[in-house]
Symmetry: C2
Subunit: 430 residues, 2 copies
């Protein structure tokens, strides 16, 4: 039975993603109608700059008054692709108050205010979907929330930021330094004019918060995520990684503690073995491993950003929200019943690769090894290389807590014979 | 608001998958309750052999009368993990008639009778879910049906049978012949005592039918799928593949025709380049590429079979079916509105690797090349190797239709100078 009154969609934002959403809604209208069970109509498009030409978006639908659009009262689904906290948050809240469901691609907002937004949606029996907020077109939110709803996820490990992966991939491929690789990424459109959100790890941390919350059925916000970007990764780090048969990737890692009573979420550059599938994720692609008790190890791979892939995710959610509207039902909301605390970075247990510049004289290695031992950090391998009275010492540890490693490094810095702690990098994926 | 009357689940079959479903329902009861919004209770377990010990399944729940169980009238969801066409089909139909939703792992049944089963479910407003029927724990059915509901899928290409991948992986790794590798797979529990369904490609073809139907929103049944197994793959084929920088995999390939007016679905061994991500799928793992217009190329990877992974998929569907029951709604049913015809194998366009045993005398290559040219099949490379008056000729073609290639081979077989067409293998993933 096909309903003929169309479902009305308000589009907030008409940039790279929004214009692609509008285009597909027009060109694939018949398919969307068949899949939803009713026609779906673009009822309004809110933009900041009304004069910019938007191919395929009828001029009469364009407005600069987003608030009036979401308050119209006849909107079934609001698609928010503005990004950032405000005005997106107020608009989404207003949309719920006026009975609309919301599809958002806004990782910053969801990772910060997801709980409040979910509560607002639930109060009105509306949907809040945001597949596009994490890893572009790659289905991750829905598989975690629905396909794995009968399983216990213990770990999510992945590359969730395309810009930084592009930069690290270039550094690995050409031996270029960070600045040079960033310049190339900017020139090719992979990095924004202000790349801070990407290169400092904010974008990946927001995604890690969202993934951790869904995977572990608990609340994790952006502030809970330990975050280190890639701006301090050097050509020397990449070269060191290569000598170990590794490459450097910016990883988002969400883990359930061994005792099951807490979780951690972190984003930082790490060395991973070349044989690990994540090592071969090139350019701006994303890939995420999910380890679940019954399912085992799953991997999801694809384009993590870009107008079309993100629009694909938005439209998938739009179809779901529209179907629910027709059925008078809502999809799964927030699931945070497990109320697991998020442990600090110090509790994370992993391996480390530490480069030290030390005095090239007898006894230094013994002194350094003693410091590691005193802090209970067991050494796996040491490589020593001398030159002109100085030497470099590369230590790779066994698994140890981040707190123990930090204390070790603190003590090492105070040694007269240690001139510099040149780099510390975690080793993952083994 | 938590409902306290539990949802009742009937389990049909208690083998490797069923017993794992029962175990997780017990051990993870609290999580399932929280995620569903009501407790879920195992109300009965139908088995053929009641005397086999089933750890963790209370004896009083076990029955041999599956029909009576699904007719009880108080069952909310029936989980069917018996497999095969009958009695599974009758039991599922009866379950719908008595108001239950159904979660099935039955690829044979769904690929043959999916349309009728979906219709029966829809008539009663019930759900029919079968994520576990395709590629074990890997979320594929739900991502295709829901996450990509706003996109246009053009191609699905993957390894969807673990047994044959294990065998081919062993042949590739050790140079073993087919029989030897099959024996090893059997000894290690990767192949069943009667491996026909796997090695002849029936299992993969059923999955291809299901994936094609969902991906292209049209009806594709097992009979529509061109099927070739791996029993005729030889050590020589694997060696030939290696010389080309390829490996041999049993692939399921579902494609939309270039003009968009028809689709094809096929399962056969094929050479793929070592650089292709599917080439590195080892042992019994599965991996599926999905190419969609807006999303681009996505890959899903994980364990394709086994009790626990399959149970994970079943339980994800069970949670969804239970949530829908509580909401009084049903999830997405069959979507076959596009009514695209399934073209025969002759219409498929791909590349071919052909090994010929020919007389080692002047003019043979010219003669063979002429036959290819007459059928409009363009040759990419030819490799010739002579020995004792005989020679082998390996021809790799450019893209050509399967019909043109078949006609070419037909003519080649009639040539006096062609002693044998030793092997024909398609080349994919380039």
């Amino acid at each position: 039975m096909m309903r003929t009154r169309p479902l009305k969609v308000a589009l907030l934002g008409c940039g790279v993603v929004g214009s692609e959403v509008a285009r597909i809604m027009t060109t694939h209208a018949d398919d969307l109608t068949a899949r939803i069970g009713a026609p779906v109509e673009l009822a309004g498009v809110a933009v900041r700059r009304p004069n910019r030409v938007r191919e395929g978006v009828p001029e009469h639908l364009v407005t600069t008054d987003a608030t009036a659009l979401v308050k119209r009262g006849d909107i079934d689904v609001v698609v928010e692709v503005i990004g950032g906290i405000e005005p997106a948050r107020s608009l989404i809240t207003t949309a719920f108050e006026h009975g609309a469901s919301v599809v958002s691609a806004n990782k910053a907002l969801v990772s910060q205010d997801g709980a409040a937004l979910h509560a607002a949606a639930q109060e009105r029996g509306a949907d809040l979907y945001y597949e596009a907020a994490v890893a572009g077109a790659i289905p991750l939110v829905r598989p975690l929330r629905e396909s794995l709803a009968g399983d216990k996820v213990n770990r999510v490990l992945g590359i969730v930021n395309g810009t930084t992966n592009f930069i690290l991939d270039r550094m690995d491929g050409s031996g270029a330094g960070y600045s040079e690789a960033l310049d190339e990424a900017t020139a090719l459109g992979y990095a924004e004019a202000d790349p801070t959100a990407d290169v400092e790890g904010f974008d990946a941390a927001a995604k890690a918060a969202i993934l951790a919350g869904i995977a572990f059925h608990t609340r994790v916000t952006l502030d809970d995520v330990h975050r280190e970007g890639i701006t301090e990764v050097t050509a020397a780090d990449i070269a060191s990684a290569k000598r170990m048969g590794c490459t450097v990737k910016l990883l988002a890692i969400c883990e359930r503690a061994a005792d099951g009573r807490s979780v951690t979420a972190r984003v930082h550059p790490a060395m991973i073995p070349l044989a690990h599938p994540l090592a071969s994720v090139r350019e701006a692609y994303n890939a995420v491993f999910v380890e679940a008790e019954a399912a085992g190890q799953l991997m999801f791979y694809g384009p993590g950003a870009g107008g079309s892939p993100t629009a694909s995710a938005v439209l998938g959610d739009l179809v779901a929200a529209c179907r629910n509207k027709l059925a008078g039902a809502a999809g799964p909301g927030e699931s945070a019943y497990s109320r697991l605390p998020v442990s600090p970075m110090g509790d994370v247990v992993t391996r480390y690769h530490i480069s030290l510049d030390v005095a090239d004289k007898p006894g230094v290695l013994a002194q350094v090894a003693t410091v590691f031992a005193e802090h209970g950090v067991s050494i796996d391998t040491v490589r020593q290389q001398g030159k002109d009275g100085e030497a470099s010492l590369v230590v790779v540890t066994h698994r140890a807590s981040d707190a123990a490693l930090s204390a070790t490094v603190e003590t090492l810095r105070r040694l007269d014979t240690v001139r510099d702690v040149a780099s510390i990098m975690r080793v993952e994926g083994e």
